[in-house]
Amino acid sequence: MKIISTHFDEPRAKDIVYYESTGGYQAARKAMTMDPHGIVDEVKASNLRGRGGAGFPTGMKWGFIPKDAREVYLVINADESEPGTFKDRHILYWNPHVLVEGIICTARALHVRNVYVYIRGEMLREYRVLQDAIEQAYRKNYLGEHIFGTTENLHVTVHRGAGAYICGEETALLSSLEGDRGWPRLKPPFPAIKGLFGKPTIVNNVETIANVPWIVWNGGKAFAELGTGRSGGLRLLSVCGHVNRPGVYELPLTVTGRQLIDDVCGGMRKGRAVKGVIPGGVSMPVLAADELDVPFEFDALMNDTRIRELEVRPGVKFDLGGGRTLRTMAGSGGVVVMDESTDMVAACARIIRFFAEESCGQCTPCREGSGWLAKVVTRVEQGHGQSGDVDLMASIADGIAGNTICALGDAVAWPMLAFLTKYRSEFEAKLAKPASQRMERAAQAGAA
């Protein structure tokens, strides 16, 4: 069963003639004959959840657009930059028309006349492929004026980013698209009320929109039935790290971490044991080897009690706000598999340095905290850690979390707390070494 990955590794799918010969643009034609509300209802019934990271129900998001809105924008978030995640790049390159078709269906549903695709600046290859697909659709009159012979107009503009992870955050993306630095905005107002150029705006991830044609063609109920619980459809997971077959896979949401590694990715390389798995991009808390029998599904990863709750220090749970605890989340679907040979302190330090580099600098807890955290974790990694550094790192992370405009603050705090909760002894061992070496040296000096 495939929805989006149908044409992966098929170079001809970039050609609209081939794409149409396999049933492409049928859903767009159908959407043009449907009542816009009907499309929104199907997407609501489908249980499609946002594939960018938050897992928010797409139909509900669409429902927030004010009824009397005169100009509504659709913005496609193609700024894929979350380390470990490379599925949207795959869609853009191998199956660009499914995105264009999803855009047409969504624009119809939301009365959108102007769509912007914000694509990562580094993805030049994908930019050209997507731009070409859009131009083909214009030539067929699926985009442009009076599309499909109707009275509707629809324009799609690809807007390239210029290198900034934070622009994947939807309000930072809007700031960047408007020509500003990519600074996130306070919510509310949410983009659905006041978004791009001050107008109601829906920002959806590439994979989210790429699912819409299938939903329009087969119905929301069928999509919901492919899924489980409150999550409909299949999901793309991009797997990297120490497995035999890394890559992008479209899978049922019931697949567990263990099945993903053993059955889908051909097991661990060199027959080594798993040490940790990040389930959805590096901002999501890492899972230990004994937490992998949980389905990689939005609700399961948040709620399954087989996954430990993050701690600020042993016995003290991290407060996500309102007394809620945090296990992990499905995030962006970027799975990072680390085997027993991995230095978890080094892995953690690399992740923290990334977020320190990418903090936009707007909020003090994140700007200062991420840099401070990077300094401390790097000195621990390099064996220069001081006693108390483990608690210090937890305390800094706890001070950042929940205290910033956007989720980047959480994105630096959560992995730090997760690595400390699950691999605390590795951090402590790095501290202990220089002290014992010093004692050894002192003893040797004394003996001499």
Binding site: P83, G121, E122, L124, A164, E178, D180, C240, R350, I351
Partner: protein, 181 residues
């Protein structure tokens, strides 16, 4: 004070601006084209120095301070001229697990430069970059060539041998497209 410049945006860029102008609301278009125009200007001039900042600001009717703020925020804009080839090596988690740091260190040694350095002959600038969204195929590098914006190549599954081939080709003045994807 604006620096004196004889630089002019190319006719091709002017044509592309005209095409894009109608795609954004009239009251927002000048600012919205800030990033696209900076990208084009950097392709033309190789870097966004003060002169180019003022050129872009003037063309769009924006305060130079705004354009300057944008230029310094985004990593793909460079204020200084880079080497003919810009070799960007990812060391983020996916690549790191596959030996990204070893690849990066090898590049530094062979080129005799540090991160963000340029070889003395001006041929190669080396930069350590963050995740390039190709984590399953690491270690990954991206190479761009000055005034050749049409070579959008990633180089995947790099090891010492492949890096050596890549650096040999750059030394001979060409991007080894046959090694890229």
């Amino acid at each position: 004070m604006a620096p004196v410049t004889h630089k002019q945006l190319s006719p091709d860029i002017e044509r592309r601006i005209q095409q894009l102008w109608s795609r954004y609301p009239a009251e927002n278009v000048a600012k919205a084209l800030c990033l696209p125009l900076l990208t084009m200007a950097q392709e033309q001039f190789g870097a966004v120095d003060d002169e180019v900042v003022h050129l872009v600001a003037k063309r769009l009717g924006l305060p130079p301070s705004h354009v300057f703020g944008v230029v310094t925020f985004y990593t793909m804009f460079t204020r200084k001229q880079l080497g003919r080839f810009h070799l960007q090596v990812c060391t983020n988690i996916g690549c790191m697990l596959e030996g990204g740091y070893e690849v990066f260190e090898h590049c530094k040694r062979r080129l005799g430069i540090d991160n963000k350095g340029t070889t003395s002959d001006g041929n190669v600038t080396l930069t350590e970059v963050e995740c390039l969204a190709a984590c399953g195929y690491g270690p990954v590098a991206q190479i761009s060539e000055k005034s050749q914006p049409d070579i959008p190549l990633y180089f995947e599954k790099l090891d010492r041998e492949r890096v050596d081939k890549l650096l040999d080709a750059l030394a001979r003045g060409r991007v080894p497209e046959e090694l890229g994807v």
